[in-house]
């Protein structure tokens, strides 16, 4: 049973941020509640004040403008999965949203909640880091931008300040010749491992590579050793496989209920190989 709490209904981001500042650690942002309510039900955390940001208009909107896809923090996985704008501009993100959790969690859960909770087993987090996304955080009437790569600092930890609201995520248009892919392995809802790959291929040579391993460690992280082996190479099977092996070897992996370190390293290498192959094929198609 939940302990008693009050729900506040701010109409603006500024008002929400001020409520958070006023109540300090007695308050939490409440979006879909799919992470927050179970934690509170378990008694792992108690917030006498929930700040419902769903009463703020427009925070769920998805739009493409001047080369940037902007997804509001309140967009649910289901809305992202079905958005024609996402389908046109960043189809990978739509496909990934479609595989998150189960139908009910996708209907209630938001992208902002997924990112701010920073539970390590996140699909969109890995994809957004690989896509060079930027997170927009608002505090009182001020705004700052943080790269997705710099946002996550540890298990359930981010650079977000307690009175900051994530208002949206901005993803730059990948441009021509860029292919992106994400492969996850899951036995139940949350992924055991997820690997996102973004490759820029020009005239048969990989000019830019971003390989992000998520879910197995504390935060979604780029694997520099794998990326280094890709740049300047033709996207041949042997090159991609070697990079995938490097991803498995160098990923920061923790043992938990999802599996042992060795097991996860193996899965990462397999997912990385699949993601790289698909990204290379997509980059190739884009370029021609």
């Amino acid at each position: 049973m939940l302990r008693p709490f009050e729900i506040h209904e701010p109409a603006t981001v500024t008002a929400a941020s001020r409520l958070l500042a006023y109540y300090g650690d007695e308050a939490a942002v409440y979006a879909g509640g799919t992470e927050l309510l179970p934690v509170m039900k378990e008694g792992l955390a108690h917030y006498p004040h929930l700040v419902n940001i769903k009463t703020i208009a427009g925070l769920e909107s998805i739009a493409f403008h001047q080369g940037i896809l902007r997804i509001g923090a309140l967009a649910t996985h289901r809305q992202i999965e079905r958005s024609p704008v996402v389908r046109e501009r960043l189809p990978l993100l739509g496909q990934v949203a479609c595989g998150v959790a189960n139908l009910r969690v996708r209907i209630a859960g938001t992208l902002g909640g997924n990112l701010c909770f920073a539970e390590p087993h996140s699909d969109p987090a890995a994809v957004l880091v690989a896509s060079g996304a930027t997170l927009v955080l608002a505090r009182d009437a001020e705004e700052r931008r943080v790269s997705a790569e710099a946002f996550f600092t540890g298990i359930l930890q981010t650079v977000r300040l307690p009175d900051e609201i994530l208002t949206g995520v901005e993803v730059p248009d990948p441009g021509p010749g860029v292919g992106a892919a994400y492969h996850r392995f899951a036995l139940h809802e949350r992924p055991i491992a997820g690997v996102a790959a973004v490759l820029a291929v020009h005239e048969g040579i990989i000019t830019r590579a971003c390989l992000v391993v998520g879910s197995v460690g504390p935060i979604p992280a780029r694997i520099a050793e794998a990326e280094a082996g890709l740049i300047g190479q033709a996207p041949a099977g042997s090159v991609l496989s070697a990079a995938a092996e490097a991803a498995g070897r160098h990923a920061d992996v923790l043992e938990d209920l999802y599996g042992s370190v060795d097991y996860k390293r193996h899965i990462v290498a397999v997912m990385a190989r699949r993601a790289l192959k698909e990204a290379a094929a997509r980059g190739h198609v884009e370029a021609t």
Partner: protein, 169 residues
């Protein structure tokens, strides 16, 4: 600790449950599942896992499936809730319910209301789904008895029948 000392204000909410307007005074912490079962006596939605993975507590909120075990009753304010009790039309079973009976897709029945309501949403969007679509839609609904085969058969069959009815009318 005395919980009353921090008791926040109750709220009056108005909602529509199975087509009937309902007004109630709730506490913000009240879960939709408890509200439906204990206040309204609607026992169709069941509590099992309590963490959004089994689907036995599924109800439709404005036509969309949610886990009532992890949804605040507050979220249902000014909205429409459909539970399994509201599916039959004046005592006439819905095609999905008939199909579940005919295909023997029910054993203990604990998962059934969630299976049917989740499938109802699918059939509204995809008139005659193929088994693969049913399987992927029901991925978050667990059944510990039937082995799923009969459930999928029942939904596919109900979809076919509804599509045929739609085509002939």
């Amino acid at each position: 600790m005395d919980e009353r000392s921090e008791a926040p204000a109750r709220r009056r909410i108005a909602l529509v449950v199975n087509g009937n307007p309902v007004e109630a005074e709730i506490e913000p912490r009240e879960l939709l599942l408890d509200f439906l079962r204990h206040r309204l006596g609607l026992m169709g939605a069941k509590r099992s896992c309590d963490v959004q993975v089994c689907g036995s507590c599924t109800v439709l909120l404005d036509g969309e499936p949610v886990s009532a075990c992890c949804t605040l009753a507050y979220e249902a304010r000014d909205r429409q809730v459909l539970t399994i009790e509201g599916l039959a039309d004046a005592g006439r079973l819905h095609v999905l319910q008939e199909a579940f009976i005919e295909h023997a897709a029910v054993q203990c029945g604990f998962c059934t209301s969630g299976m049917i309501l989740t499938s109802l949403e699918l059939l509204r969007e995809v008139p005659a789904p193929v088994p693969e679509q049913v399987r992927s839609h029901l991925k978050g609904n667990l059944c510990r008895c039937t082995g799923y085969r009969r459930i999928i058969d029942a939904v596919v069959d109900a979809g076919r029948r509804l599509a045929a009815e739609g085509a002939s009318s």
